[in-house]
């Protein structure tokens, strides 16, 4: 205690020096950043990958699709995860990025389980979220105010929902949450609440509903009978090489696609019977 603490003063300098001299680490790693919805999937794939290839690490971070796209564009990471097409984001030059569609995710409207409702039409849904319908009574339900819970702006899930349900109408200003977990918690506990979320997040605490008589199932998504779905993208800056290339191939391999992707509630891209462009043009895939 006498004098030793003085040496402590030297430590920050040491730390800085350590970082300055290009701290060389052994082993190899790449970083994938972006969409928090995609994070668990890539994380799980990364875990499997590391188990098979010791000393090679996939560093997976959330942060949102916007972060993922701006980071991959600036080249500070190897993979940018996004729920959206890169071209949908302003400020992103999509031409330099290579899109890898790794999974498909369906989005379903969810309501508080106390509501007896089982089916809504797309038009009714749109009216609810634009604020034209404000009471469940208008839809044949109980006399209860509709509590609309939206996702934050720029969220991929919200984009998918608005693209295929609202079809260009603007949503009303309502409660917004930046995470599915919060949405689920709120819908589960708030009487009269309605929101939407990706299939993997659906659990017993909330209730899904049919849209135009179609149930939200993976099978319905693969045929585009259930229209509210989107691709999950992993972008690379230029064609991937080295570890990145191997990892991308690994993610698209049957092992991950059939085991991890399907298990988590996403839909493997290989299972899709149709493909769909951003503009909504649907084409059959002949497998």
């Amino acid at each position: 205690m006498k004098k030793k603490w003085l040496y402590l003063l030297g430590l920050p300098a040491l730390t800085l020096m350590l970082t300055a001299c290009e701290f060389k680490q052994t082993g190899q790693s790449i970083t994938a950043v972006g969409s928090s919805a995609l994070q668990p999937l890539v994380e799980a794939a990364g875990d499997e990958f590391t188990k098979e290839n010791s000393g090679e690490f996939i560093n997976v971070q959330g942060g949102g699709s916007g972060t993922g796209l701006s980071q991959i564009q600036s080249g500070s990471v190897e993979i940018g995860n996004s729920d959206l097409y890169a071209s949908q984001k302003s400020g992103i030059d999509a031409s330099k990025l290579v899109d890898h569609k790794v999974a498909v995710v369906g989005v379903t409207p969810v309501i508080n389980p106390k509501l007896k409702l089982t089916n809504l039409s797309i038009a009714e849904l749109a009216k609810i979220f634009s604020g034209d319908i404000t009471n469940w009574q208008q839809l044949g339900g109980p006399d209860q105010t509709i509590v609309v819970i939206n996702r934050a702006q720029g969220s991929g899930t919200r984009d998918t929902f608005e693209r295929w349900v609202m079809k260009g109408q603007t949503s009303m200003q309502a409660q917004e949450q930046d995470s599915t977990g919060m949405v689920r918690q709120i819908v589960a506990s708030t009487p009269g609440a309605i929101s939407y979320m990706a299939f993997p997040y659906v659990d017993k605490t909330i209730k899904t509903i049919k849209v135009d008589g179609v149930s939200p199932t993976s099978a319905n998504v693969t045929t585009n009978k259930w229209q509210i779905w989107s691709y999950e993208h992993m972008y690379t800056n230029g064609q991937p090489t080295g570890l990145t290339k191997r990892f991308m191939a690994y993610v698209l391999s049957d092992k991950i696609q059939q085991k991890v992707v399907a298990e988590m509630g996403y839909i493997p891209v290989n299972d899709m019977k149709v493909s769909r462009t951003l503009k909504g043009k649907v084409a059959k895939i002949n497998s």
Binding site: L9, S36, G62, G63, G64, S65, G66, T67, L69, S70, Q73, S74, K89, S90, G91, I92, V147, A152, Q153, G154, S155, T170, Q173, A174, Q175, E176, Q177, D178, M182, Q185, I186, S189, T190, A193
Partner: protein, 309 residues
Amino acid sequence: MKNDEIRASLLKRSRATKNERFGKILTGLCIAIILTVVLAIFYFVASKGLATFFKDKVNLWKFLTGTVWNPGTTDAQGNPQVGALPMIVGSFGVTFLAAIVATPFAIGAAVFMTEISPKVGKKVLQPVIELLVGIPSVVYGFIGLSVVVPFVRRTFGGSGFGILSGTFVLFVMILPTVTSMTIDALNAVPRNYREASLALGATRWQTIYKVVLRASTSGIITAVVFGMSRAFGEALAVQMVIGNAMLLPSNLISPASTLTSVLTMGMGNSVMGTLSNNALWSLALLLLIMPLVFNLIIRRIAKKGAMHR
């Protein structure tokens, strides 16, 4: 001979002098690093936050008074929709309400600890208050969501999310800060003020109310303002209970939003360099300026207090 040696040593730079210079440079360096960090943060936030106004040509007045926050889109005239008023109102709402609720409790606890029962205060209340500071804001948010929101929903109706829930959570969060600073203010009142008052036959409460609290008013206000600046910057806990609707709050139990909640929510979903991102940094700039304003207020109060003494 010895005399000459001493004379020579007096004229030489001694070890202590060199040592002194070393210390001064070393500590000066530390403060310089901190200052650099502070300035860097200011520069960073300001350069990004001001870009909204200079690069994207958003009208500052419209930014502060507009009520529609939708940075990705433009209104009928082609102006981007970046009206921050709902968040500003939300932030100030929860901050002021939390301060209003917390102040009597803080003063009460502080008076108890300094005037009524310093022993119990030091042994029980002081550790309790320090513990409250230590509880992470994530945990506060977690409790807010599972206890406060349902409570508000059951008692006041609505969805439970809103300014009222935010107020309750912030109240507990700023209480320790305000209390401990109020204690300092009360302790600064000279003992003989109290003795004089008691000697004149005043009761203890009269002494507290008419002498001690009067004499420490400026210190107490400083404490409250300081607590408010804390409340203003709190993000996670508030975000979890306020509902995050970018609407001008019409009552205390409808979902609202604060600067911090919008900032944390939107940052990941926008691309750096775009207007939507810059607009968020403008909110951060507002957040940075507000403590500055609060600080100025504190200084004003402190100066006034000093003059009265």
